[in-house]
């Protein structure tokens, strides 16, 4: 038998097997590795066809749904690594390409998308050149002192409105560029410092948390992840200690908490760089659980009517999603209720950096309301007055304090927020085929009862949350 007679059908059968496997295989809607929504099979319209959008959408679908795609992407990293030799270089720069296609839809409270959205704010401001030093990625963004007065002014306005009712705290975290272990980048540290000092110097009423000062005391520890743009639990602990000092609380020591560890964390910076040396230096995800009972619910972007069950720690998240362990990722509004019966209540305004910070607060407050200024449309001041909130804490990564857009979002949050995306109608939500049902699809529960989010996720949450 001719070899070609055997080989040719074999190859074409193998090619045909791929779309068949795509058809019958399990469908994914989200790429955990890339932190983005995968393309959906397009619905046909004449308009899309004539514009070429339909064909392009099918191309995208094939790209996104190849069987074992995420494994194949790791192979791609290996192939690229094999292109050359890799001398041990302590320091180099990589250019990050713009994010591919549709980012996660952050408008649906409680969806997987919303939980994984922490890349988005970062992604927009940090694409470009990054430093890789000893396998850890650092952005070169280092703050902007010129924006600090605007940020401080916004805080001052809140302090003025809440005078005599609620204390306002500024707990802005520096960026990882402040802790690059190479002397020649000292100017980036200085710029981080200048940005925070400029905030402090312009505050009139709010209380300043010296987060960076506290972090500098512990800079021998790992305060930022090497593969992700967030701070570690230890970095967030510095933020917490600085807050306690500012608020007059005694911080709970780390030794008094339960330490847990997950390995193999490859976060947002790895997703962006997909660098083999970074992958070799995957982070160990360490976190500390205060030994306090606490439960959490999350709300949709503007309503308190339909709370969805959540948790303070979602321990089942692994791999690239480790950071979502803290308060189960972002949501427009999360309410944490603790076993600390001291009557104290706090509100936290945060971006994703505040997630790791918020969990430490359960040792000090009976009730904590966590607002994500990017997605929330709740009238924060109403909640602060209604719930008799004692402390309003702005706990965020510095990139949130560096643009007029984010400052505007925080300012508007007091009276209803703007959100990053337009408000969706109920019908929009129903039509969406997100993995998790939109709030409107979940049957209403009587009174204040808690509505499960989605069975498989909530099972994980409940298993994880034992003892909290």
């Amino acid at each position: 038998m001719k070899a070609s007679k055997l080989y040719t059908p074999l190859v074409f059968l193998a090619l045909l097997a791929v779309p068949i496997a795509m058809l019958i295989g399990e469908k994914q809607s989200i790429s955990m590795d890339e932190k983005r929504k995968l393309a959906e099979w397009p619905s046909f319209s004449w308009e899309d066809w004539t514009s070429g959008a339909y064909g392009a959408a099918i191309d995208d679908y094939f790209d996104d749904h190849l069987p074992v795609r995420e494994v194949v992407m790791h192979w791609a990293d290996g192939v690229k690594y094999a292109w050359g030799v890799h001398p041990v270089v302590a320091e180099r720069k990589v250019v990050v390409k713009p994010a591919k296609r549709e980012p996660l839809d952050t408008s649906k409270a409680g969806s997987d998308s919303a939980r994984m959205n922490y890349l988005n704010d970062f992604d927009e401001s940090y694409s470009g050149e990054m430093l890789i030093i000893d396998g850890a990625v650092y952005t070169q963004n280092s703050g902007n002192p010129a924006m600090s007065p605007s940020f401080a002014k916004m805080l001052n306005e809140y302090a003025e409105k809440l005078k005599g009712h609620t204390r306002v705290f500024s707990c802005v975290a520096p960026l990882s560029s402040a802790f690059i272990p190479v002397e020649k980048y000292g100017h980036l540290r200085q710029r981080n410092k200048s940005t925070l000092e400029a905030i402090r110097d312009n505050l009139q009423g709010p209380i300043f948390c010296d987060v960076m000062g506290e972090m500098l005391l512990k800079q021998n520890q790992k305060l930022f992840f090497g593969t992700d743009h967030h701070w570690t639990a230890r970095g967030a602990y510095c933020g917490y200690v600085s807050f306690c000092k500012a608020a007059g609380f005694a911080p709970v020591k780390l030794e008094q908490m339960t330490r847990k560890v997950k390995t193999g964390f490859l976060g947002s910076l790895y997703s962006l760089t997909r660098d083999a040396t970074v992958r070799e230096h995957a982070d160990t995800f360490e976190y500390f659980k205060p030994r306090i009972e606490a439960s959490a619910v999350r709300f949709s972007e503007s309503s308190l009517d339909r709370p969805m069950k959540s948790a303070v720690f979602c321990e089942s998240f692994r791999g690239s999603a480790c950071y979502m362990t803290f308060i189960c990722g972002d949501a427009p509004l999360i309410k944490i209720t603790t076993g600390v019966k001291n009557g104290r209540k706090a509100a936290v305004v945060k971006n994703s950096m505040g997630n790791a910070f918020s969990v430490y607060l359960i040792s000090h407050y009976e009730e904590i309301w966590v607002f994500d200024y990017r997605y929330s449309k709740h009238v924060m001041l109403d909640i602060i007055y209604d719930r008799e909130i004692d402390d309003l804490i702005f706990a965020l990564g510095m990139y949130g304090a560096m643009s007029n857009g984010t400052i505007h979002m925080m300012r508007k949050l007091g009276e209803g927020g703007v959100g990053m995306r337009p408000r969706r109608t109920e019908s929009d939500s129903i039509q969406s085929d997100s993995l998790i049902p939109a709030p409107s699809q979940i049957p209403a529960a009587p009174n204040d009862s808690v509505i499960p989010l989605v069975p498989d996720v909530i099972d994980k949450i409940e298993n994880d949350s034992n003892g909290e």
Binding site: F12, G55, I58, D63, G84, H86
Partner: protein
């Protein structure tokens, strides 16, 4: 649609092959190929399918009419009609804006600049149809009466959007009669896989580096960076375009066609003239047969003919003065080589090779920068820039050294150096071809997944 997309490799192609070979009736096979070709084209440019169809139908009719009225003034009229309409379309879509800009530079025009997207592949298929009517007029080929077969000749997806420019006489016999041959199909699969590998593994990877050096702020560019950048672009261009041609030839073989080679190790050339006997051969032949020789070739006013051909070759590549300049650049060196032949003949082969490579690599800068201001700035850095190595360049070369070494190895004409090797390796090929195809397809797929950088450079022509 592009060959190097997963939708093409794992959807369009196997489905097309399956349906094509589902019947033994040649008419149905041709119809299948025609429908898939229109689907292929319409995938990204549905509207311009009409233009393709018009061009095909128009020249199908012209061919028949030229044959019918052969020897009369009517035949000449239909030929002129074909040339005017086809080149008129090309002028309108490809050169309309360019013409407007140049006229508007001198006089104020009463209408706005035409803003029309260039229909993909128009430069290729108009040349094919014009060559057909010319050949019918010259009585070098018979007019094709089978409508589907002619439509398929023009639109056949393997060569539709980026060549090679298939002359009608090269496939005339194959349009209505193609033997089923496992060996040919398998060799087509091999060739396609190799082309895909060249495109995805080498061209895309070097392309990502090219952007780092040539798209950067030119003021930061050092001289070594500029040279490395433009050398990498030369590598990218060759592997991109020759990879596409390999895929086209391979695909055509899968359907029983045998297309002519479009590249023959161009970077092994020892003169500019030699280079263009090896690079984009189908375009060179078109200009030779339909412009250079009719103008008089080397019998009458050869210098003028060379300049005309090269100016047109430049213009064919793009509606911009930089492409004209690029063409004339080669015209000048063709003449220099012509008049210094005695010296060149005595020059060692290695020196001639280096001289050719430097000229070719330098010419890529004219090709890359459409904007003259940028081009001048680039040249300034190329020749007078800082002699320092930039921070990342050495590291980039380290990180891609095996890839670049492979690219260099694939540029070497091993078949010319060891002419008998192919025959001696034939038994090994029988066993190695399957693992080689699997490896190349697998590596290409792996690199295509999640990668957004995947353009074919010659699509813009």
């Amino acid at each position: 649609m592009v060959f190097s997309s997963l939708a093409f490799i794992y959807g369009f192609l196997p489905l097309c092959v399956l349906l094509y070979y589902a019947t033994k009736v040649m008419a149905i096979r041709n119809l299948t190929l025609l429908l898939f070709s229109y689907l292929f084209y319409a995938w990204g440019e549905p509207f311009w399918v009409l233009l393709l169809a018009f061009s095909s139908v128009f020249d199908y009719a012209n061919g028949l009419l030229i044959a019918k009225f052969r020897g009369t003034w009517k035949a000449k009229g239909f030929l002129i009609g074909s040339i005017v309409v086809n080149f008129g379309m090309l002028a309108a879509f490809k050169y309309g804006g360019f013409l407007y800009d140049n006229i508007a530079y001198f006089i104020k025009l009463p209408f706005a600049r035409p803003e029309v997207d260039l229909p993909i592949g128009i430069s290729f298929y108009t040349f094919q149809t014009v060559s057909y009517t010319l050949d019918v007029y010259r009585n070098e080929v018979k007019a094709q009466k089978n409508f589907v077969a002619f439509m398929m000749f023009v639109s056949m997806f393997p060569q539709l959007v980026a060549g090679p420019i298939v002359r009608y006489n090269a496939v005339e016999d194959q349009l209505l009669k193609r033997d089923f041959n496992w060996d040919r199909i398998w060799s087509g699969v091999n060739r396609f896989a190799f082309g895909l590998f060249k495109k995805v593994f080498i061209a895309n990877a070097t392309g990502a580096l090219v952007g780092k050096y040539l798209d950067t702020q030119l003021m930061d560019l050092t001289s070594p960076d500029a040279w490395i950048g433009i050398t990498l672009f030369s590598i990218q261009l060759y592997f991109d375009f020759s990879g596409y041609s390999d895929m086209a030839i391979g695909l055509a073989r899968m359907f029983g066609f045998e297309l002519e080679e479009n590249f023959r190790h161009p970077y092994a050339a020892i003169s500019v003239a030699d280079f263009y006997r090896r690079w984009h051969i189908s375009l060179g032949r078109f200009f030779r047969d339909y412009v250079y020789i009719p103008l008089g070739g080397n019998r009458r006013m050869q210098d003028r003919n060379i300049f005309v051909v090269w100016a047109l070759t430049g213009l064919w590549h793009g509606a911009s003065w930089n492409f004209v300049m690029w063409g004339l650049y080669f015209g000048v060196f063709m003449l220099i080589e012509k008049y210094s032949m005695p010296v060149l003949n005595k020059t060692p082969r290695f020196i001639k090779h280096i001289y050719t490579l430097i000229l070719i690599v330098f010419s890529r800068s004219i090709f890359y920068y459409v904007d003259f201001g940028q081009l001048q700035e680039f040249w300034r850095h190329l020749f007078y820039g800082r002699a320092a190595l930039s921070e990342g360049m050495v590291l980039d070369l380290y990180n891609h050294c095996f890839l670049l070494a492979l690219a260099v190895l694939l540029c070497i004409p091993w078949d010319e150096i060891f002419p008998s090797a192919e025959q001696r390796l034939q038994p090994a090929y029988k066993w190695l071809s399957l693992p080689a195809v699997i490896a190349m397809m697998l590596v290409s797929t792996v690199l295509l997944v999640g990668d957004t950088y995947n353009p074919f450079i010659y699509f813009r022509f």
